[in-house]
């Protein structure tokens, strides 16, 4: 079969992404309307009256049919407007623009840490399967998967912020204003999320490498007299790089989800805190805006992964 041009591939993938975005935002919107609790009551204030609440509903258009409200939101999005918070009037795009870099920095740090520690662990475990190194790696990986991120986060804060005073306990700094300060603030939350990633990378990589190393062509390479390290680094890792990319793309999604809890523990004003605040207050433009952003990010990550995989391994059908 002739290979399609990458441009066409990207185009068709983006078209496929549209229904996903529609479905995701529609479902979240429906959920927000289904759960009890009403932002009109919040908007009406401490001394609310029934009349005032009804008045608020009509001022903010909350009394319109469900589909009309969703349609109105969607119409604005199509024009590049994520609309405003019902409560505070801030542009949702502004809120997200401020929050997203904070979340992104944590995820990037977590990913770098997970790869830097997870890859060597996976490789050395696979070289001598069932040796004591392998068992140690398995143990560390099991612990890493099992430890709840928020618990690890609190332990890290107690030790490195409150006791040793090395790193800040809460908050975030803007990366563009002072990159080093920003990394200092994001380091502990990054580590808290990275633990799971490290474990996952080590385990998956070990499994994939074992499979490659036991294959027939590796035996042939041995027979040809290649050294173990050349087989491992030149042939082994090249063959598992597709697995690695897949792990990374899954991890990005998982880590984005993990930030919701971690951001609360560290009081980081990121996407996670934003969506929690929006959901609790039933401020649906905020929730919709964050969901929209996250869906776009996830789709983009998957698309890039697929393209990279195809570039590395031409056997993958596009």
């Amino acid at each position: 079969m002739a290979r399609r041009s990458p441009v066409k591939v990207i185009g068709s993938r983006l078209l496929q992404a549209l229904p996903v975005i529609l479905l995701a935002t529609f479902m979240v919107f429906a959920l927000l309307k289904l759960v009890p609790g009403d932002i009109a009551v919040t908007l009406a204030g401490d001394n609310a009256t029934d009349t005032r609440i009804a008045e608020i509903r009509s001022i903010y258009g909350l009394d319109r049919p469900f589909l009309v409200q969703y349609g109105a939101w969607l119409g604005k999005v199509a024009q590049g407007d994520l609309s405003q918070s019902l409560l505070t009037g801030e542009n949702v795009a502004t809120s997200i623009g401020r929050a997203f870099p904070n979340t992104l920095l944590i995820v990037v740090i977590a990913m770098v840490l997970a790869l830097v520690t997870g890859i060597p662990m996976g490789v050395i475990a696979a070289v001598k399967p069932n040796g004591w190194v392998d068992k140690l790696v398995s143990l560390i990986a099991s612990v890493g998967v099992a430890i709840p991120g928020f618990w690890l986060a609190m332990i890290l804060v107690a030790e490195f912020s409150l006791k040793l005073n090395w790193l800040p306990a809460t908050g975030a700094k803007s990366f563009s204003a002072s990159p080093i300060e920003a990394i200092r603030y994001a380091l502990l939350p990054g580590i808290a999320i990275a633990a799971y990633g490290m474990a996952e990378v080590a385990r998956q990589l070990r499994g994939a490498l074992l499979e490659v190393l036991s294959s027939q062509y590796v035996r042939t390479l041995h027979a040809k007299g290649l050294s173990m390290s050349r087989i491992l680094w030149q042939h082994g890792l090249k063959n598992v790089s597709v697995n690695l990319l897949t792990i990374i793309s899954l991890l990005v999604n998982r880590m984005l989800a993990a930030t919701v809890v971690i951001e609360a523990v560290f009081a980081i004003p990121g996407l996670g805190s934003l969506i929690v605040r929006g959901a609790i207050q039933r401020d649906f433009p905020i929730v919709q805006g964050v969901v929209f952003t996250v869906v776009v990010v996830v789709i983009a990550v998957n698309l890039i992964t697929d393209l990279l995989c195809a570039a590395i391994d031409p056997r993958i059908e596009q």
Binding site: V35, P36, G37, D38, I39, V41, T42, L43, A44, G45, D46, N47, A48, T49, D50, R52, I53, E55, I59, S85, L87, T88, G89, E90, S95, R98, A99, V157, S161, L162, N165, P168, A169, T170, G171, A264, V265, F266, A267, P269, S273, L274, V276, R277, I280, Q281, R282
Partner: protein, 515 residues
């Protein structure tokens, strides 16, 4: 201030004792000085920085820094005292004259005169976007009767107004800013006449204010500015104070006290507030349509133990909607419901209530609320009542109980208190009040007594009127008050001059920073 009665004197003394036992502000070392930035961990993003359009009780902690009110209150008793209005007088029961302080300007330079006050009151009273129209229902018109004098014509006597004007309705916003603002609201660009002027607000992240150099109170404020970091997770907020990233955190739950006191760099201040944990009842439907069942609930609760077990002792047992130190507290009403499970059982039997019948009461799902429920379930069980709490997040649970759904027979929640007690009662115990979950009628003499409490300006007459109101509310057992939560504030040792107040919404009037 003149002390008019013995009870008031006692109230004031106990207030003073509270601050003394705190090692508090009055005994701070050294002289107050200017400078420094006060960094505060705040638990919630404000709903709006426009006093007329906001909704949440947690907004005041920000609003008070930027907006001064026409009337202020004494920290310990909430008795009204002059603010932007240097004096006021009811010339007759339906005419209130306010004399505005001379020489005050808003942050944008607009003079704060009678015209500006009228503009604000008219807006609060009738602007469609105003959330506080109901507060000013008794005001028929506002007239400028002098360059620095406004006259409020009332359609019914309302001596609650000075108290009301110490809250949102009395926060003065620059008319220039309002006229220029998009949609006539200054949600995101507040301009007031308070001790600090607005610098910036990043939603859910940070609010920054800086000293108003032209502030009318001499030598105030001391800090150069305040930075509020919004940290909804209180444990995290408390950590930010022990780690020295913030200077002060307010509205901590009692269980935090022991933890935070372990940090040597931090001191803790607490004092009583009007914030009362209570069970709201729907007396329109069974089983609480029967007054005996409602009274049984009140007898079944051992409030002293509740305070110890659920609130780490940092609270005052509540037998009505006002705490001991409030000027309108009535000691006789407080004796109506001693802990008496046997009496509760007897009342239930008289009501024909079958022992062990399940009663469903709504509640909130956070850790502290659930702990309170566990204690109450056990206390009710001892009185022969099988109470089941159905929990949901705050917005959901309260909308289900107070809104049209009318879910559950009760709701374990809290009432935050109002500067004038008549609002507390009219917002909960009148027929169509939103916080009367069942919208069921109340005895006509109660509605009359609430009106009566607003008829006279004389504080002794008002106190008597409130005694009647409270007696009627509690005899009818329309509510089950549990405990007044103390305000719990933790701060860095360099923070001086912080005083808790009875309203429980922090003000930073005399706060200064040691260098």
């Amino acid at each position: 201030m003149t002390i008019t009665t013995r009870r008031e004197a006692i109230a004031l003394i106990s207030g003073a004792l509270v601050s003394a036992s705190l090692g508090g502000p009055a005994f701070a070392q050294g002289a107050a000085k200017k400078g420094g930035t006060l960094r505060i961990s705040a638990p919630a993003n404000p709903s709006s920085l426009d006093p007329a359009t906001g909704g949440a009780g947690s907004d005041h902690a920000f609003l008070f820094t930027m907006y001064d009110t026409l009337v202020e209150w004494e920290f310990e008793t909430l008795k009204p005292r002059p603010g932007l209005a240097e004096s006021w007088k009811f010339t007759d029961p339906t005419t209130l004259v306010l004399n505005i302080r001379a020489g005050v300007t808003f942050h944008d330079g607009t003079p704060l005169d009678a015209k500006a006050v009228k503009f604000n009151l008219d807006r609060n009273k009738s602007d469609p976007k105003s959330n506080i129209k109901a507060d000013l229902l008794s005001v028929a018109s506002v007239e400028v009767s002098g360059p620095l004098q406004v006259t409020l014509k009332l359609n019914t006597p309302d001596t609650a107004l000075p108290g009301i004007l110490s809250d949102r309705a009395g926060m003065m916003v620059s008319p220039t800013a309002l006229k220029a603002a998009d949609g006539g609201v200054v949600t995101r660009k507040p301009v007031g006449a308070g001790a600090y002027s607005f610098v910036s607000w990043a939603d859910g992240e940070k609010i920054v204010v800086k000293r108003n150099e032209k502030y009318w109170k001499p030598n105030r404020p001391y800090p150069d500015g305040i930075e509020f970091s919004i940290i909804p997770e209180l444990t995290t907020g408390a950590r930010s104070v022990t780690a020295g990233q913030n200077d002060l955190i307010y509205q901590l739950p009692p269980r935090q006290k022991a933890i935070i006191e372990r940090a040597s760099s931090v001191k803790v201040v607490h004092g009583p507030t009007l914030y009362v944990f209570q069970i709201f009842l729907n007396w329109a439907k069974p089983p609480f349509d029967n007054v005996k069942v409602r009274q049984a609930l009140n007898f079944a609760i051992d409030r002293e133990s509740f305070v110890k077990a659920a609130l780490a002792g940092l609270a005052e047992p509540a037998y009505m909607n006002l705490p001991k130190s409030h000027w309108a507290y009535d000691a006789e009403v407080a004796k109506l419901y001693p802990y008496d499970p046997a009496k509760a059982r007897k009342l239930l039997a008289e009501a024909g209530f079958k022992e062990g019948t399940q009663i469903e009461i709504g509640g909130y799902s956070d850790q502290d609320s659930v702990q309170r429920e566990e204690i109450l379930i056990e206390q009710f069980r001892k009185a022969g009542m099988n109470v089941r709490f159905v929990n949901a997040p705050i917005a959901e649970a309260s909308a289900a109980f107070f809104g049209p759904e009318k879910k559950g027979s009760g709701l374990l929640a809290a009432w935050t208190g109002r500067p004038d007690p008549s609002l507390t009662y009219s917002l909960m115990f009148t027929k169509d009040a939103y916080y009367n979950g069942g919208r069921a009628p109340v005895p006509p003499e109660l509605e009359a007594a609430i009106r009566e409490s607003r008829a006279s300006e004389d504080i002794d007459i008002r106190r008597k009127a409130f005694a009647t109101v409270q007696r009627l509310v509690m005899e009818n057992a329309f509510v089950v008050p549990l405990a007044f939560q103390f305000e719990l504030v933790a701060m860095n040792k360099k923070v001086q001059g912080y005083k808790p107040n009875l309203l429980g919404k922090p003000k930073y009037d005399d706060v200064w920073l040691e260098s």
